[in-house]
Amino acid sequence: MSKKDEVVMLDFWGSPFATRVKIALEEKGIEFEAREEKDLLRNKSELLLQCNPIYKKVPVLLHNGKPLCESLVILSYIDEMWPSPPLLPTSPYDRSVAKFWADFVDKKVFDGGKEIWTSKGDALDVAKKGFEESLRLLEGALGEREFFGGEKFGFVDIVLIPHTPWFHAYEQFGGFKVEDQCPKLSAWMKRCLGRESVAKVLPDPAKVHELICMFRKMNGIE
C-alpha cells in the first residue's frame, strides 16, 4: 500500500464483537480510529445506518472508506490484508479447526450468556447448564495448549477473550464459577489479559455488569 491507509471502526465499548476487531488491529500494529457510538441502543449514527443497513450493528470497519460488517468477516479481512503477524494457522486443516471454534464461539457464547441474564427459575438452570457445557467444550478444544492455536495468540483467542468480561455477570446471575468448572480456560483468560492488545481494550467486568443490569431493567427483568 503506497499511501497511508485510513482505518476507522464504528465501535461500542460494551460490544464483545467490536472488541474482537480492536484486539486484531492492535495485534497487527495498525493505526486506526475507533468511533464510539454515542447512543447505540436508541439513536444509531447516520454513518452506522449507512454502512450496515441490514443489521445496523457494530462493529463496522471502514478501510479507506469501504465498509465491512460482521466481526468474523472483518477479522478474516484484517488477517488477509495485513498478513503479519498471522492470526490464523498456516495449514488448511488447522485453519479449518480455528474457523470451526470461532464459529462455535459466535453461535454459543453471547446468546448462551444472554439466556442466563434474561432467565429465572428453571429456565435459568437450563441456561446455566447449557453455558457450562459450551465452556467445557471450549476447554476441551484448548487442551493443554497455551492458546487455542498453540504457542501463539491467534484467531480463536481474539474471538473468545472479549466475551470474558461478561462471565463475571453470568456467574453472579447463574450461581457458578468459571474457574471451578474450567480451570484451564481460566488460566488461558489470565494469559490473554497479560497481552497489551487485550489489556488495552477489554472492558472492566464491573462496568459490563452495570450494562447488563441496565439491559435487564430495560427489558423488565427483576
Binding site: E70, S76, Y77
Partner: protein, 270 residues
C-alpha cells in the same frame, strides 16, 4: 440410476431413497479413498461440499446418513453438533459446510478455478452475504414453508420476499457483468446460495409461492438457471419432485408416529 454401492449400503433402508431419477455420485477417481463425505442427497449443506469437490474434480466416497438416525462415524467425527456434512480427509474431520468449502479450495488450490475470490475485500463481501443467507431465518424459512403451520408460513414467505431482492441487488456488484457471483465460474457465494435452489423449487411447487420471480428478481432467475445447469451442480442438485416426495414421506412418518418427533426433515439439512 442408483449405483450398486448405494443399494448395498446397509444404512439405507430399501424403500426410502430409491427413485429412478436420482443420480448418485460415489467414487469417481480410483485411489482417493482417503476422502469421505458424510452427507445426504437432500441436504443443501452437504451439496455445498459436493459442488466444491466437483469443481476441483476430486473423487470422494459419499457416506449417506439416513434421516432420523446418526451413524457412529458421524457422532465420532462431529461430536459437537452431530450434523452433516462432515468431510473426512486422511481420517481428520472438517465440519461446517462453508468451512469445508474453503478447506477444499485451499487443499486443491491448483486443481481447478479458485472458489473464494482472490481479492480480500471481495472475499469479505461474499462472506457477509453468506452470513446473511445462513442467518437463523433463511434455512428455517425454507423449513417452515415446507411445513403445515399456515401462520408461520406467511411470515416465512415475507422474510424470503425481503431477502431475495437484496441478493438481486448484490449480484451485479459481485459478478461484475459475468455469469456468477464469483465471476466467470461458480464461486463461494454461488455455492452458498445455490444449494437452496432445489428446495426453493420444491417449495414453489408445493405452495404456489413464486420465490424467484422473473418480474421481481430477474437477475437471480437467470443466475439460478446457469447455476443449476453447471456440470459441477447438476448431478448433485436434487429434483424438486424428489424433495416433495421426501417431504410428504417425512410428514407421513411424523403424523403416524407421534413419539418420533425428532424425525424431522431438518435433521438432513445442516
Amino acid at each position: 440410476m442408483l449405483t450398486s454401492k448405494a443399494t448395498s449400503d446397509p444404512r439405507l433402508p430399501s424403500n426410502i431413497f430409491l427413485h429412478s431419477n436420482f443420480r448418485e455420485n460415489t467414487e469417481r477417481m480410483a485411489g482417493d479413498l482417503e476422502l469421505k463425505l458424510l452427507g445426504s442427497w437432500a441436504s443443501p449443506f452437504a451439496m455445498r461440499a459436493r459442488i466444491a469437490l466437483n469443481l476441483k474434480g476430486v473423487g470422494y466416497e459419499l457416506l449417506k446418513e439416513v434421516s432420523g438416525t446418526k451413524s457412529e462415524l458421524l457422532l465420532k467425527s462431529n461430536p459437537v453438533y452431530k450434523k452433516i456434512p462432515v468431510l473426512i480427509h486422511h481420517g481428520k474431520p472438517i465440519c461446517e459446510s462453508m468451512i469445508i468449502v474453503q478447506y477444499i479450495d485451499e487443499v486443491w488450490a491448483a486443481a481447478g478455478p479458485s472458489i473464494l475470490p482472490s481479492d480480500p475485500y471481495e472475499r469479505a463481501i461474499a462472506r457477509f452475504w453468506i452470513v446473511y443467507i445462513d442467518d437463523k431465518w433463511f434455512p428455517s424459512s425454507l423449513r417452515t414453508l415446507r411445513g403445515l403451520n399456515e401462520e408461520a408460513k406467511a411470515e416465512a414467505e415475507e422474510q424470503l420476499a425481503n431477502a431475495l431482492p437484496l441478493l438481486e441487488d448484490a449480484f451485479p456488484k459481485c459478478s461484475k457483468g459475468k455469469d456468477f457471483f464469483g465471476g466467470e465460474t461458480i464461486g463461494y457465494l454461488d455455492i452458498a446460495l445455490g444449494c437452496y435452489l432445489g428446495w426453493i423449487k420444491a417449495i414453489e411447487k408445493m405452495t404456489g409461492i413464486k420465490a424467484l420471480d422473473e418480474a421481481k428478481t430477474p437477475t437471480l432467475v437467470g443466475w439460478a438457471e446457469r447455476f443449476c445447469s453447471g456440470d459441477a451442480v447438476k448431478e448433485v442438485m436434487p429434483e424438486a419432485d424428489e424433495l416433495i416426495e421426501f417431504t410428504k414421506l417425512i410428514q407421513a412418518i411424523m403424523n403416524a408416529a407421534p413419539g418420533r418427533q425428532n424425525m424431522h426433515v431438518s435433521k438432513n439439512d445442516r
